[in-house]
């Protein structure tokens, strides 16, 4: 198991209630795991806890056992062991720029350079990452002059360039146009061939095609987990809005579960 949570709770500093509460879940290598749920469900917090950024950077308090790539990310030893192995993409890419690079190329090279890789390896990984994210043409641009979508792609290229074993991606397509979002989502299973991908997103419609496992949270508590097709067809997930738009409409029409989650399934169910 790449990431394992056992009864994990987390409180932000000064918060009366837990952002996630006794969550147990596992994320496996070779898979894309989707964490979803209504606004404030705890998906972002789950990612931050898995990365060890919570409580390290956020402050606050964690309970329960977390294992990320075999170590506890909140301990000093864990942090040392995880250096360069976990790639995190925050939902606000403009806050994630290094601020120390004056070109997109330098920005993408920032993390690999800090990991002390040799020049040839850095050039190689940066070129590949920029190509994968479709930002090669922006190589000489100043990162601070990019549009929201361009910036999100550049920051993601920086994460890809690190060649992490674990990707923790929080709404990675939030700023992207539909074509860009589609391309990014198609990339995730490819990244998962040699890594574990944990994706926090409310966009179930888009994630359905690429997620092999889903965790549904609501106000920090685990609601459902397992095979996406089963989970999204269930009332348990649909009642929280954590399902596809097709299933949502069918449920609104008053039909019973299991809900058809795709257009084809709806056609089969309603047309003779």
């Amino acid at each position: 198991m790449t990431v394992n949570f056992e009864k994990v709770s987390f409180w932000y500093p000064g918060a009366a209630s837990a952002a996630i509460h006794e969550v147990s879940a596992e994320m496996l290598a070779g898979e894309v795991t989707l964490v979803t749920g209504p606004l404030g469900a705890g998906g972002s917090t789950t990612l931050l806890v898995a990365a060890g950024l919570a409580p390290q950077v956020t402050g606050g308090r964690r309970e329960g056992a977390v294992s990320t790539l075999g170590v506890d990310p909140s301990t000093r030893r864990g942090r040392a062991m995880l250096r360069g192995r976990v790639g995190v993409l925050l939902p606000t890419p403009h806050t994630q720029l290094s601020g120390m690079a004056f070109s997109v190329h330098r920005e993408v090279a920032f993390a690999p350079a800090n990991l002390g890789w040799d020049r040839a390896r850095i050039d190689d990984t940066v070129e590949r990452a920029m190509q994968l994210m479709g930002v090669s043409h922006l190589a000489d641009r100043d990162p601070t002059t990019l549009s929201g979508g361009e910036l999100q792609r550049v920051v993601m290229a920086g994460v890809v360039a690190m060649e992490p074993e674990l990707f923790l991606l929080d709404e990675p397509a939030m700023e992207l146009d539909p074509q860009g979002a589609e391309a990014l989502y198609e990339l995730l299973p490819i990244l998962a061939e040699s890594a574990t991908v944990l994706l926090a997103s409310t966009d179930v419609d888009r994630a359905l095609a690429i997620a092999s496992r889903v965790i549904v949270l609501d106000r920090g508590r685990l609601v459902a987990r397992g095979d996406p097709e089963e989970v999204f067809a269930s009332e348990l997930a649909a009642a929280k809005g954590a399902t596809t738009s097709i299933a949502h409409i069918v449920r609104e029409a008053g039909c019973a579960e299991p809900y058809p989650i795709t257009l084809e399934a709806a056609r089969t169910r309603f047309l003779p």
Binding site: P38, I249, E252
Partner: protein
């Protein structure tokens, strides 16, 4: 209030972004502004609220030309929701953020309090009155910006990605709010990438490409055919797709209407 963008061009230095953009939006119209990343959508919205001024051409909000006017002048007519809330939010509590504009516009404290109550209820943040905006996750912060914009009681409402990162129930709520604004006679213009949002909240769509308006069409027409949407690099949202697949009468496109049509057609519920 009528918005008129007349042959507007704009460049950041030598980087030309808009090249002769023209369109008008009338009171009661809800217009969605689509286009690829870097197409100039955000730039266009900033020209409307006088955060930027055109290099050539004119932007008119009612009988005001934005040239020579400041964002503060424009605020009496136009409310703007930024794409990134940290460019907008500054107060220590959600309520303070929302009351700022009406107070600046001369509304009495008592009346302004009433407005705060109303708009926070509308966006679903009534319980977060005293919360620090930055203690909210980015997506919910966007709702604070929207509440602050509504509190301005604008005649023109301009929004940059108002539903980014929101879950379905909040997306539908925001779309409902925008529809209600348009029904009241407000002119609504919103940048979005999400065709579901367009189908739920808007009547007309503009597509910006290479600095020009290349599509100006009725929303129903765009979502009615797979082909038309695909041409624009978009996919048909679930509502109209279901409506067409099941051949629902009247071709409803909003989720709630599609569900209603299914209920009467298939006799469920």
């Amino acid at each position: 209030m009528t918005l008129r963008v007349d042959d507007v061009s704009f460049a950041y230095g030598t980087n030309s972004v808009l090249r002769g953009v023209s369109f008008a939006a009338e009171p009661g119209e809800a217009v969605a502004l689509l286009g690829r990343n870097g197409a100039g959508k955000t730039t266009l919205t900033k020209l409307i609220v006088a955060l930027l001024h055109p290099d050539a051409g004119e932007v008119w909000v009612g009988d005001w030309n934005t040239t020579g006017r400041t964002p503060e002048d424009m605020a009496t007519r136009v409310a703007y929701v930024f794409q990134h809330t940290e460019q907008q939010l500054f107060a220590r509590t959600v309520a303070e953020e929302v009351i700022f504009a009406p107070r600046q516009l001369g509304v009495s404290r008592r009346d302004a309090e009433g407005i705060v109550e109303e708009v926070l209820g509308l966006v679903g943040l009534a319980l977060h009155r005293e919360t620090h905006p930055y203690d909210l996750p980015p997506a919910e912060r966007k709702l604070v910006s929207l509440a602050a914009a509504l509190a301005q009681r604008p005649q023109l409402l301009v929004l940059d990605e108002p539903t980014q990162g929101l879950d379905r129930s909040h997306v539908l709520r925001v779309c409902e709010i925008l529809r209600a604004q348009a029904r009241k006679g407000v002119t609504v213009l919103a940048v979005t990438h999400d065709l579901t949002v367009v189908a739920e909240g808007f009547t007309r769509a503009l597509v910006l490409d290479d600095g020009r308006v290349v599509v100006d069409e009725d929303v129903v027409r765009i979502v009615a055919s797979e082909g038309r949407a695909a041409e624009l690099g978009l996919s048909v949202p679930a509502g109209p797709a279901l409506s067409r697949a099941l051949d629902l009468p009247g071709f409803p496109i909003r989720m709630v209407e599609v569900a209603r049509a299914m209920r009467s057609r298939f006799g469920v519920g």
